[in-house]
Symmetry: C2
Subunit: 138 residues, 2 copies
């Protein structure tokens, strides 16, 4: 396996972590807003199982980084940038999820694993997953 090494690879993984939560949040915000018309901090708090304060701080970072907007005591809305990220994250998530099912993994595991994997799958691997599903299923 040629011993990985060479800071580059690993530092990419590290910096990925910085955006993982943001992606999880915008994805959740888009889902909730779509299903119930708007997304409030309390919805996210329930969704992720963390305190409302944690959500509030996370929303603050999303706003700071241009992914979302909000008003005091109001709901959260995604910016155009946030919507792009949410859409891309959802697409990746679905590909990974369907791929795991096609691989023969059970639904529950596919769901759990796809949430963990979606942030670490490159475009090239996504392509390979899609190719596999096309070959495999239709």
């Amino acid at each position: 396996m040629s011993s990985s090494s060479a800071s580059g690879t690993h530092s990419r993984i590290r910096s990925d972590h910085a955006t993982e939560l943001a992606e999880d949040y915008v994805e959740a915000i888009a889902e909730i807003a779509e299903s119930s018309g708007q997304c409030r901090a309390v919805d996210l708090s329930r969704h992720f199982g963390v305190s409302h304060v944690t959500v509030s701080k996370a929303i603050g970072r999303l706003v700071r980084d241009g992914y979302a907007t909000t008003e005091p005591y109001g709901p959260v809305a995604l910016t155009a940038k946030g919507q792009r990220v949410a859409k891309a994250a959802k697409a990746r998530h679905e590909i990974v999820y369907r791929f795991l099912l096609a691989l023969g993994v059970g639904e529950k595991t596919a769901q759990t694993d796809s949430e963990g994997l979606e942030h670490h799958v490159s475009q090239e691997t996504l392509k390979a997953m899609q190719a596999f599903m096309e070959k495999d299923e239709g």
Copy 2:
């Protein structure tokens, strides 16, 4: 995709992060120790591309959590627990890496992606990956 939700799944993802770095470190320590006889902080610093101070603190956590031992100004060694974790991480890493290759992903991407994915793949998915490789190649 049944909108994920339900704190359980996501909180698992969060707490995973706590052990990811530990796994990366013990895996790297095992590799370096195997190839050069011992592992020093400076080796890890170069391996991960982070400062020696960051490595020093990480080693402190490894020691605190029973994964490694060290003496002042001395090299780092894995405990039995650390060796178990390193071995398991390496095994997972290799399965994921070979699986990606079998999927048709290029070597470089397989290397990068496997580093990101290895911490998020469940036993069930690993089994499915192995089954795929056996069917596909063996």
